[in-house]
C-alpha cells in the first residue's frame, strides 16, 4: 500500500517516522485528483504551487505534510469562497479563515477546494455552480450535501480527510451517502472564523469527513484546537426513538441500523432504552426556518430582483420564497428550539447517546433526488432533514457512521450526544467499527477498489 492509500492518521505517522516523504505524497495526491476527479467533480480547484508553498512552510504539527480538501465555504489566503454559487449573496474575499489557520498550524497541506450544494441549501449535492459532484459508489447517485465534494473526495480516496460544514446536517448526509464517518461538533467548538455567516449563524459548525472515527478524531482535534481524547465507552445507554418519523425509513436502512445498534450495545456492555422525543417534525422545520432566516441576512427585495442569472432557478426561487415566510413562524421555531433543548437536557440524564438512521434511504439519483419511504415518495431534502436538523437546532454534537450497504450504496447510523460530549461519539463510533471488524469503514467504492486492484496486480 502506498502512503496515498493510508488513513489520515497513517499518513501523518508515516511522514513523521520518515517512512513516507511529504513532497512525494503531495505530488501523488495531485496526480490522483487529476486521474479520478473528472468522473466525480468532487474537487473544483487545485493550486499546486500554493500547496507546495504550504508544505514548504509547514510546522511539524499533528498533520504535518498530510493533504486535505476544504469545502468551498471558507476563504483561503489566495482564494475567496464561492459557496457553490454563481453569486454568494454576501461579500467574500481571499483571507485566512479559522479552518485554514487550524490546518496550516497543524502542518496540513490544502490540496483543493471541495464542491458543495449551491448556497449550502440542499442535502443532495446535485446543484452547484461547478456542476454536481458525483457519488463514488455510483456516479449517477447523489453524493449528499451540502458538503458534497469533501465527502466524494474522501470516499474516492483522493485525500484521506476533508473539512466540511454542517448547518442542517450538511456533514452527516454526505457521510452517510458516501460511506464515511462525519462529525458535526458541538456548536461553537470547531473553527468557524472567516465563514461569511459565522457572526450570526446559530446553526453552522465546521467538522471532519474521514473514513473512520480515528481520523475524524485527529482532524476534529485540529479544527477544535484541543485534543478530542479517546476512551472506551462502557455501559453505553443507547436511546432509541420509536415514532412515525424515525421509523419511516427504507427496510434495509432500518435493518442495518438496528443491527449496528445491537452490536454497539453488546460491545459496550450497554443497554437500549426506548425514549420519546415528541415534535421531531416540528423541530426539523424549526431548524430549516432558523437557518433560512439567518441566511437572509442583508438581503433586500431589490437585491433579489437582480440576482446573477447563473444562479440556479431553484436557488433564485427559494430565495424569493424565503422572503414570504411569516416572521411568526420563526419566533415559533425559536420556541421549539427552547423546548427541544429542555427535552434533550432531560433525556441525556437517562441515555448517553440517541441513535437513528442518518438518512432514511440510500443516495437517490442525481437527476431526480426522490426517495421511496413507507409513508410515500418524498424529496431527499424533506426526508433527510427529519433526522438531521435536531443537532443543529439544539447545538448538540452528532456523528454519522457507516453501517452497511444496500443496492451497493452506503447506509449511515447517526449517534447524537449531549453538549460537549463529542469525544463520546467518536469513542462509540470506534467501538462500533471494531465490533464490525472494521469492514464497514474500510469498504471501498468500486472506483477506488478497481484502481487499488490494478495497482496491486
Amino acid at each position: 500500500m502506498t502512503a496515498l492509500d493510508l488513513s489520515l492518521a497513517g499518513q501523518a505517522a508515516a511522514i513523521a517516522s520518515g517512512e513516507a516523504d511529504a513532497g512525494e505524497l503531495l505530488e501523488a495526491t495531485l496526480a490522483r485528483i487529476a486521474e479520478r476527479n473528472p468522473a466525480l467533480n468532487a474537487v473544483v480547484e487545485t493550486f499546486p504551487e500554493r500547496s507546495r508553498e504550504m508544505l514548504a512552510q509547514a510546522p511539524r504539527g499533528p498533520l504535518y505534510g498530510v493533504p486535505v480538501v476544504i469545502k468551498d465555504e471558507w476563504p483561503l489566503p489566495w482564494r475567496a469562497q464561492r459557496f457553490g454559487a454563481a453569486e454568494m449573496l454576501a461579500p467574500s474575499a481571499p483571507g485566512e479563515s479559522g479552518p485554514y489557520r487550524a490546518l496550516r498550524d497543524a502542518g496540513a497541506v490544502i490540496v483543493g477546494v471541495g464542491n458543495m450544494h449551491e448556497l449550502g441549501s440542499g442535502s443532495t449535492g446535485n446543484v452547484s455552480v461547478y456542476g454536481p459532484a458525483r457519488n463514488p459508489w455510483n456516479p449517477e447517485r447523489c453524493p449528499g450535501g451540502s458538503s458534497s465534494g469533501p465527502a466524494a473526495a474522501v470516499a474516492a480516496r483522493l485525500v484521506a480527510g476533508a473539512v466540511g460544514a454542517d448547518g442542517v446536517g450538511s456533514i452527516r448526509y454526505p457521510a452517510a451517502y458516501c460511506g464515511l464517518t462525519g462529525l458535526k461538533p458541538t456548536f461553537g467548538r470547531a473553527a468557524m472564523e472567516g465563514h461569511h455567516m459565522a457572526p450570526y449563524s446559530t446553526m453552522i459548525v465546521s467538522g471532519p469527513l474521514c473514513a473512520d472515527a480515528a481520523d475524524c478524531r485527529l482532524l476534529g482535534s485540529v479544527l477544535c484546537g484541543e485534543e478530542l481524547a479517546s476512551g472506551a465507552p462502557r455501559g453505553l445507554r443507547i436511546g432509541i426513538v420509536r415514532d412515525a418519523v424515525s421509523d419511516d425509513v427504507e427496510a434495509p436502512v432500518r435493518a442495518s441500523c438496528a443491527k449496528a445498534i445491537g452490536l454497539l450495545c453488546e460491545a459496550s456492555g450497554g443497554e437500549m432504552v426506548e425514549i420519546e422525543l415528541a415534535d421531531l417534525d416540528a423541530s426539523a422545520l424549526a431548524g430549516v426556518l432558523i437557518a433560512n432566516t439567518e441566511g437572509m441576512n442583508g438581503l433586500t427585495p431589490d437585491r433579489l430582483n437582480h440576482l446573477d442569472p447563473e444562479l440556479s432557478p431553484l436557488g433564485r426561487g427559494l430565495l424569493k420564497y424565503r422572503m414570504l415566510l411569516p416572521a411568526a413562524a420563526t419566533v415559533k421555531a425559536l420556541q421549539v428550539r427552547a423546548l427541544m433543548r429542555q427535552r434533550l437536557a432531560a433525556l441525556f440524564d437517562r441515555v448517553d447517546v440517541i441513535a437513528w438512521p442518518t438518512v432514511p434511504a440510500v443516495a437517490p439519483p442525481l437527476q431526480m433526488p426522490l426517495v421511496e419511504l413507507p409513508s410515500g415518495t418524498l424529496t431527499a431534502d424533506q426526508a433527510n432533514v427529519r433526522g438531521g436538523a435536531l443537532a443543529n437546532l439544539t447545538g448538540i454534537p452528532a456523528i454519522s457512521v457507516p453501517v452497511g450497504l444496500s443496492e451497493g450504496l452506503p447506509i449511515g447510523l447517526q449517534l447524537q450526544a449531549a453538549w460537549g460530549r463529542d469525544e463520546l461519539l467518536l469513542d462509540a463510533a470506534e467501538a462500533l467499527e471494531t465490533a464490525n471488524g472494521r469492514g464497514k469503514v474500510e469498504a471501498l467504492p468500486p472506483l477506488a477498489e478497481a484502481a487499488a486492484a490494478s495497482t496491486e496486480g
Binding site: R316, K332, A338
Partner: protein, 67 residues
C-alpha cells in the same frame, strides 16, 4: 375560518407586496416550495409549546440553564 393553501392567492400577493419579480421558472419553484412548506408551517404555528419561551441569547454550546 377556512385556511387557504392556494399558491395562486398567496404567492402573487406576497411577491407584489414586497416588490419582488419572478419569472415563470422561479414562480414554479416558489409554488412547489409553498406546497411543501406551507402545510407544516401552519402546523407549526398551531403547535402548543406550552410556556416554552425562546431562550434569550442561548448558548448553543451548552445545555439550557435549568428552569
Amino acid at each position: 375560518m377556512e385556511v387557504s393553501n392556494r399558491a395562486d392567492d398567496f404567492i402573487p400577493a406576497g411577491l407584489a407586496s414586497l416588490g419582488l419579480e419572478a419569472d415563470e421558472i422561479e414562480l414554479a419553484v416558489i409554488g412547489a416550495a409553498h406546497a411543501m412548506f406551507w402545510p407544516p408551517i401552519l402546523e407549526l404555528l398551531a403547535l402548543d409549546v406550552g410556556e416554552a419561551a425562546p431562550e434569550p441569547r442561548p448558548d448553543l454550546s451548552q445545555p439550557p440553564p435549568p428552569r
